[in-house]
């Protein structure tokens, strides 16, 4: 099995087990799921590396998007906490 297939299998296992585990907590928002999906992407990516040069170039695009999503979620949460503290 090549590293890319190993990555897909490990990432799917992590993501779907996260959905199952967090579904036990009804108050968890979708941003928590998304943040965990992002972190799991980087974990699975590192665990199944190395990839060929061509694979890594394409992966960087996905990594940037994932990092942007995580940054938006974190900034939103920080803003929310600061606003609540100000009020």
């Amino acid at each position: 099995m090549n590293n890319t297939n190993l990555f897909f299998i490990s990432y799917s296992a992590l993501a779907f087990s996260t959905v199952f585990a967090l579904s036990l907590f009804p108050s968890v928002g979708i941003d928590v799921y998304l943040a965990l999906f992002t972190i799991e992407f980087f974990i699975a990516s590192e665990l199944t590396s190395p990839f060929s040069l061509f694979e890594r170039r394409k992966r960087i695009v996905v990594e940037v998007i994932m990092l942007a999503v995580l940054a938006v979620i974190v900034i939103q949460r920080i803003a929310q906490i600061l606003l609540e503290a100000a009020l």
């Binding site: 897909f8 579904s23 060929s52 694979e55």
Partner: protein
Amino acid sequence: MAGPGQGSCWVCNADVDAEDNYCRDCGAELLRRDGMPGIRQAPVRTDVRVSVGVFLTIVGAIVGALSYFMGIVPVLAFGLASLLIGLMVLYLPSSDSVVARIAAESSLPSLLNIERLLEDLDLDERGIYIPVSGSGVAPNVFVPLALTPSTRKPPLGLNTSRRIFVTVGKNPEDRGVLLDSPGAGILSSLERSLRLDLSRVGLADLQGTLDSGLRSIGIGKVTSVTQENTRNEVIIEMQLTALIDLETKLGNSAPRLSEHIGTPVVSALAGAVSKATARYVKLKSALLDRANRKITVSLQLVD
């Protein structure tokens, strides 16, 4: 490539018969489509990947959209996960690019020329990697005509020589062929990517350095570097993520080069050990396990 009927050799393009296993002109082993599961199964695997990707994307989009309007967060997360994985399966490639494959194939004829040179000169001694220092500088390989006290340890100055046929002693048998090592390109790229000179890295740190260097240039990972002090031997195990086809083809069609000097990856490892230890290095054996993409290289440190 030789087809099921009459075809042509993949190396010299000469006509070959259906029952031939080796080319009658150049002696290269013929690679047949029916004997290469990778080639036959590639379109099937791609089809399966696309089907899985499309299925996950569609299911994820439908489930995600419906659960979003119904306000069911866990199901929405399930849909998002499916959509995300589906898009990744469709977007991320699973093999080397065509350009990378062509680049690897382009180096094959020059390496086969070295094979013919070794064959024509009937050189049976193993190549000796001459230690060198400097970032991006790879050791040259000296293939002696016969093992004599002079040719066992050729002068270090040979690394700057531009000659092919060199004499390293006073006797007529103190001669040999001096070649740029087949792994010089890999070794230079590795050092450039790490921005360091391997001659400043000791053997103790070589595994970590080689591992991160080979990972960064996308060739593979080094799983172990062990030194057998009693036998003056260094054994390196690594897993390849690229160049596996080139290594296999060279192993089949250039046996003398593979055994005496080493294929590009093996040669790069030998050059790295020569630089790190500042000693002459000879290739003892190199085993390629194609199924597990694993190479085990045994190198002899010459005293």
